[in-house]
Amino acid sequence: MLDPEQKNPAARTEGNRARRGDGFDDLHTQPMRLQFGPSHPSTHGTVKIVLDLEGEQIIDADVQVGYLHRGFEKECETGYYYQNIPYTDRLNYSSPILNNVGYCMAVEKLFGIVTPPRCDYIRVIGGELSRIADHMLAIGASSMELAAFTPMLYMIEGRELILDLTDALCGARVTTNFIRIGGVSADLPENFKGFATARLDQVLKLVEDTHKLLTDNPIFRRRMEGTGHLPAKDLVAWGVTGPLLRAGGVPYDVRRVHPYLVYGDLDFDVPVGEHSDNFDRYLVRMEEIRQSRRLIVQCLDKIPDGPVDSDDMRVRWPGKRRVYTRMEELIDQFKLVTVGAYAPAGEVYHAVEAANGELGFYLVSDGTGKPWKCRCRSPSFSNISPMREMIVGGQLADVVPTFGMINMIGGECDR
C-alpha cells in the first residue's frame, strides 16, 4: 500500500508541505495519463486516445483504432465480386451509396465494362444524396458535442428527409446495396424529380437554419477557430484528403482532378478553406452540401432515358422473366450464382470522392470469380493518422471538435 503522500505529491498534507517547503498556494502539477475513450460519447465508441496531460495541455497523444475491425478484406477474398457489394455498405455507414459506387466502379474497371449514361446519372444522384447525409451527420454530431443541441436535431431531421429519398431509390435507408456491377439495382421511381426537389428544398432550409445558429455563434467559433490546425503541406504529406485537405487550401477533389461518371459534364464548385482549422472544415462541409444539391438538381434535369444496366453478358443478371422462360438465361443465372463472373487477370485501382476523402479500391484478380485481393483505401484511416500532430500542444477541450471534424467513421477506418 502506497503512502498517500507518495501517491499524490500535490496532496495538501503536512508531509508534502514540509517536502516542498512552500505553502499550499501554488498548485504543482505532474503529467497525467488520461484514457480518452473507447466509450467516451464523443469518440462514437470506436477509438481510444491515450493523452498525456500537463494541466489542461496535451503533451503527447496516442490514437488507437481497431475496435471495429471486422476483416473486410479477408471476407472479400472469399466471396464472388457481386457478393461483396453489401459489405461495402458497412464501411462508411453514414454514406453507403458512395461506397457501393466506389467498389462497383473498381470492378467495372477490372472487367472493362462501360455503364450506360442513365446509370451514371443515377449513381451521381445517389452518391450526392449520401454525401449530404454524411456531412449533415458530421456537423450535427460535432455541434452536439460542443453543447449545441438544436443543430443536431435539425440535421437529424434533414438526414431523415435524405434517407426517405434513399428509401425511394432502393428500398433501404442505411444498408442500401443499391449499385450493381454494371448498373444499378433499380431505375428511378416515378415522380422522383418532384419528390427529390421538394425534399432537397426542405433540407437546404434546415441547413441554412443551422448556418444561422452555428456560424456566428461565439461559443462555437471559439471552440472551432484555430483548433486542430495542421499546415497544408503536412496534410498532403500525411495523405489527408477530402474536406480536411480542402479546408487547408488544397483544391484536391477526385471529382474534379480525375473526373469519373458524369462529373466532368456537371457544373459545381470545389470549396476551399484558408486557415486549415476546424472552423474552415465546418464551412467547407456546409458549402459542399449546397454544391451536392446543385449537382443533384442538374442531374435530375439532364438525365437521359435508356437502360440502367450494362448489356455485358459477363456480369449482367438476365432477369427473372427470362430465367423462367429460356434455357440459356437459366444457365447464365446459375453460373453467375455458383461460380461468379470470371474477371480478367490484372490489378486496378479506382478512387472516388467519398464524403471524407478519396475512397479507393485496389483489386488484384487471379482470373477467377473471386478477387485475389480486395483492398480498400479508406479516407478515415489516413485522415485520423495525423490526429496526434493536430492535438498535441493544444488544450484537452480541443480534442472533441478536432475529432468531430475529422469525422472518423469506425467502419471505414477499421474495416
Binding site: 483504432v65 475491425h69 503536412d234 500525411w238 485501382y349 479507393g360 477467377t368 473471386k370 493518422s385
Partner: protein
C-alpha cells in the same frame, strides 16, 4: 448468345498500350532502377527492387515534373503458390475446383501449394500528386524467408499508420519505422490474418486478463 461469343468476351483483355507520358517521365528519371513497367486499364505501375525503394521514392517526390507529394496507400499482396503473374482464364465457364476450395476454413485443412521461384509477397504503394494530378503504383517483391523492406516514413509521414497496418495484417517488417506495432489487432494475436495460409475461421487462444484485480483464469471451454 453462343459459346463463341463468350470466348471472345473472355479473351478481350486489353493488350499493353503504348507508354503513357507519365511513364516516359518516370523512366527517364529513374532509368535502370525500374525493373518492369506495366499499364493495365490506364493504371501505371512500376516494379522496383526493395533495396532501391527509398531512393526511388525520394526521386519521385523531389523531381519537379513528377512531384508525387502524397502517399495514398501502402498494402501488400500475398502470392502464395503463384509461380508468376496471374493469367486470364480462357475456360471461363469451367468450374475450377481449386478456386472453390481456395480459402481454407481451418488451418489444418490447408494444403500448402508448392512455392514458386518468385518471392511470395509484394508490397504495393499508391502515389499521387496534388499539383500534377497523376497516379503511380510501385510494387516491390519481398521474399517469404526475409519479409522486410525499408520504411518510407522519412519521405511521406503518412506511411506511418499504413505500414503499421501492413505489418499487422501481413507480417511484413518495415525497417526504420519509428513505431512498428500492431494497429488493429491486439499484441498477443498469433499470426497475420491476411496471409493466404491463415484460414478465415481460424481461432485464437483466449487471453487471460492480466492487470489489477485479475482472478484465476477461467477453465478453457
Amino acid at each position: 448468345m453462343t459459346a463463341d461469343d463468350r470466348e471472345t468476351t473472355a479473351q478481350a483483355t486489353p493488350s499493353e498500350p503504348s507508354r503513357s507520358p507519365l511513364m516516359d517521365a518516370v523512366l527517364e528519371r529513374l532509368g535502370s532502377l525500374v525493373l518492369e513497367h506495366h499499364n493495365f486499364r490506364g493504371d501505371d505501375r512500376i516494379h522496383v527492387a526493395r533495396e532501391h525503394l527509398v531512393e526511388v521514392a525520394q526521386a519521385l517526390r523531389d523531381s519537379p515534373e513528377l512531384a508525387f507529394d502524397m502517399l495514398l496507400d501502402v498494402t501488400a499482396v500475398d502470392y502464395l503458390g503463384q509461380a508468376d503473374e496471374f493469367e486470364t482464364k480462357l475456360e471461363v465457364w469451367d468450374r475450377n475446383r481449386a478456386v472453390m476450395r481456395r480459402q481454407p476454413q481451418r488451418r489444418h485443412e490447408l494444403v500448402l501449394p508448392p512455392r514458386g521461384s518468385h518471392p511470395r509477397y509484394a508490397v504495393v504503394y499508391h502515389l499521387t500528386s496534388t499539383t500534377r494530378s497523376h497516379r503511380l503504383r510501385i510494387k516491390c517483391r519481398v521474399p517469404e524467408d526475409d519479409p522486410t523492406i525499408a520504411s518510407v516514413t522519412s519521405i511521406w509521414p503518412g506511411a506511418n499508420w499504413l505500414e503499421r497496418e501492413t505489418f499487422d495484417l501481413y507480417g511484413i517488417r518495415f525497417t526504420g519505422h519509428p513505431d512498428l506495432r500492431r494497429i488493429y489487432l491486439y499484441d498477443e494475436f498469433e499470426g497475420h490474418p491476411l496471409r493466404k495460409d491463415y484460414g478465415k475461421w481460424d481461432e485464437q487462444p483466449i487471453q487471460a486478463y492480466v492487470g489489477p484485480g485479475a482472478k484465476e483464469p477461467r477453465r478453457p471451454h
